[in-house]
């Protein structure tokens, strides 16, 4: 691959909690490995490129979430990218709309069915620090982020939870996020990739077709210090 093309979908609709940060972090970490990056911001009135290497979709309010789902269903390119094994990272409202259905403005909407899950409303808004233990086969260690959502997500059999919740709510208080193939959904913003550099590297490795261990090491002193501060703050609070 000559240039890594990272598509950030619909920043006009879904970009609420520093979601641009995930794009910045991925581009920064790729360039630090000598990989050229072409960040592509695709507005909701533009076609979704089908040939990009990595797709990002962020969080947002109910109205824009429903509009985004409708346009992505019409466009079709994101579903084809998922079938082709392209990595996708979806946050919060973007995560919910990858499932079969989600709630927005008081009613159920059809999702993209890329991940086997569905979302509805929870009894209360989940707001605060979130942390969890991820499956060993992901090789990314514990995750830390900040969540702010009213939805709850129920996982089907064809997906794995991204993490078992140790603090916060996530999907339902027990699990957080989901993954299947190269598609990851999560409620973590913060943004998630700034606070979880190994998750960023996993997506990059999938995008360039290597094992994460083959990516050259970079200096993660500051992100590691941030991680220990956030985990430490949760431990102190408990």
């Amino acid at each position: 691959m000559s240039t890594l093309r990272i598509v950030w979908l619909y920043p006009d609709l879904l970009s609420t909690y520093g979601d641009r940060g995930n794009l910045l972090v991925l581009a920064h970490r790729a360039r630090a490995r000598g990989i050229e990056v072409e960040p592509m911001q695709v507005r909701s009135d533009q076609r979704v490129p089908h040939s990009a290497d990595l797709y990002l979709i962020g969080g947002g309010e109910d109205g824009p979430q429903a509009v985004a789902a409708d346009r992505l269903l019409q466009d079709g390119a994101l579903s084809r990218a998922a079938e082709a094994g392209k990595p996708i990272l979806a946050i919060c409202a973007g995560y919910q709309l990858l499932g079969s259905s989600f709630y927005a403005n008081g009613r159920a909407h059809e999702g993209l069915n890329i991940l086997d899950l569905r979302s509805d409303r929870g009894p209360s808004r989940a707001v605060g620090e979130i942390a969890g233990e991820t499956a060993p086969q992901l090789g990314i260690g514990p995750i830390t982020g900040f969540e702010n959502h009213g939805g709850r997500t129920h996982l089907g059999e064809a997906v794995q939870p991204l993490a078992r919740v140790t603090s916060g709510i996530g999907n339902d208080g027990a699990t957080e996020g989901a993954w299947a193939g190269h598609v990851i959904g999560t409620y973590m913003h913060g943004p998630g990739l700034a606070r979880n550099p190994k998750l960023a590297d996993l997506l990059l490795a999938w995008a360039v077709g290597v094992n994460p261990g083959q990516l050259p090491q970079i200096d993660d002193s500051w992100p590691e210090r941030l991680r220990s501060e956030r985990f430490g703050a949760l431990a102190n609070a408990q």
Binding site: L13, D19, R20, G21, R195, R225
Partner: protein, 414 residues
């Protein structure tokens, strides 16, 4: 004004002043909040009773409300005494105290928290309501911004029929909220943060932007022609008749020239000649510590408060290009616990400068700056930051509680 107060309201006012004075004397702040709380317990209608008979302007929006309120107060003082909540206590308790402390003031300029606008419209029956801008702010504890604009729109429709609105024509959320009102004076006050208004608040379609003009591609919502604007050349405000009012502000940046334009628009609705009001604005040197200049060990610090992405972008636009920059970030309750918004701020303009970061969440800032390839030093507090830069001018940008911590280090400079 208070001559017509009921005995109960008079008693409430006396208790309010006593509580506020006690709070000040015991070093717990300026007493606005506790005083107002006491007064409102004794007489729940106290705010309404104290506002009765006065000419009131409410000033609200995400950013610039404290400064605009200060400018407006300076302008209105050309024609009379003005009651104002100059300490930034911008909820009903603070408004009640501001009015109670200035019983003889015929005018009132009240800064109003965005979430209390409806309550204040009911209680204070304002002659003028100024709406500055709406952008994302403390999302973990506040409403998302389009929902807030919708709430304003409904509130204004119900409660502001008697008021004249002074509104920012450059902010689509403000235009949508204000356009339900029969009398609106539009000010081209600019918009430094456009990401919360990429789509039409009215119908959800795309907004097209051509320079300063914007319009919805579907429903036709568009930028109204402003009566007031900031001059393109030089430092001046241009009024409805095309007349220029020269500004000689001590406060920096385009955003403060826009705040001045709004203040002149408000003042002229109260019958103040803008030519008389404009020079009064240049007497404002700092606002509750904001823009204050303090000196320590040969370093001249200028203190800038920036609470949210729009505020940080505005402050980067204001600062002088050469001096070192100290950034301080906290995430305590009033700041919002969520720091993710720092990724909505572009820090690349600081590249190549001497940047020092501090505050409770300095590590978050360090990670953020690394992503933007901005070099930085991390230090424990403002004292260490001062020691880390050479003598000379220093620009300090801090969010709310980080700013208060720095002010405390300098005897709560105003």
């Amino acid at each position: 004004m208070s001559a017509n107060l009921t005995p109960r309201a008079k008693f409430a006012t006396t208790l309010l002043r006593t509580a506020a004075a006690l709070s000040r004397a015991t070093g717990r702040g300026d007493g606005s909040v506790i005083g107002g709380r006491v007064g409102l317990i004794v007489e729940p209608r106290l705010l309404e009773l104290l506002a009765e008979g006065r000419h009131v302007v409410l000033i609200s929006g995400t950013n610039g409300k404290t400064t605009t309120t200060r400018f407006t107060t300076a302008a209105l003082e050309a024609i009379g005494k003005v009651a104002t909540n100059s300490f930034g206590a911008n909820m009903p308790t603070g408004h009640t105290t501001a009015l109670a402390k200035a019983p003889k003031a015929e005018y009132a300029a009240l800064e109003c928290d965005e979430h209390y606008l409806g309550q204040l419209l009911d209680a204070a029956s304002p002659k003028v309501v100024a709406l500055l801008n709406l952008s994302r702010d403390q999302l973990d504890r506040a409403m998302e911004v389009t929902a807030l604009a919708a709430k304003w729109r409904q509130t204004l429709q119900e409660a502001a029929a008697q008021s004249t609105i002074v509104a920012n024509a450059d902010d689509p959320l403000i235009v949508w909220a204000a356009s339900v009102c029969p009398r609106v004076v539009w000010v081209a006050a600019g918009q430094s943060w456009t990401a919360d208004s990429a789509i039409c608040p009215n119908c959800g379609s795309h907004l097209d932007r051509f320079g300063e003009f914007w319009r919805c591609t579907n429903c036709g919502l568009n930028r109204p022609s402003p009566q007031w604007s900031v001059a393109q050349q030089g430092e001046a405000v241009v009024g409805p008749d095309g007349r220029r009012y020269e500004l000689n502000l001590q406060l920096p940046g385009r955003v403060n020239r826009a705040n001045a334009a709004t203040a002149l628009a408000i003042a002229s609705l109260f019958g103040v000649d803008p030519a008389q009001a404009a020079p009064r604005l240049s007497e404002v040197a700092s606002v509750a510590g904001r823009y204050a200049r303090v000196e320590r060990d040969g370093r001249q610090l200028r203190l800038l408060l920036a609470k949210n992405p729009a505020g940080w972008l505005e402050s980067f636009d204001m600062i002088d290009p050469v001096p070192p920059v100290v950034l301080s970030l906290n995430a305590r309750e009033v700041d919002g616990f969520d720091t993710s918004w720092i990724y909505d701020v572009d820090f690349t303009s600081l590249s190549g400068r001497n940047v020092v970061v501090t505050g409770d969440r300095r590590t978050d800032l360090a990670v953020r700056l690394e992503v933007d390839n901005v070099r930085f030093q991390v230090v424990d507090d403002i004292r260490a930051a001062i020691a880390a830069v050479p003598p000379g001018p220093v620009e300090v940008v801090a969010n709310y509680t980080a700013f208060q911590d720095i002010r405390a280090e300098f005897n709560r400079v105003n």
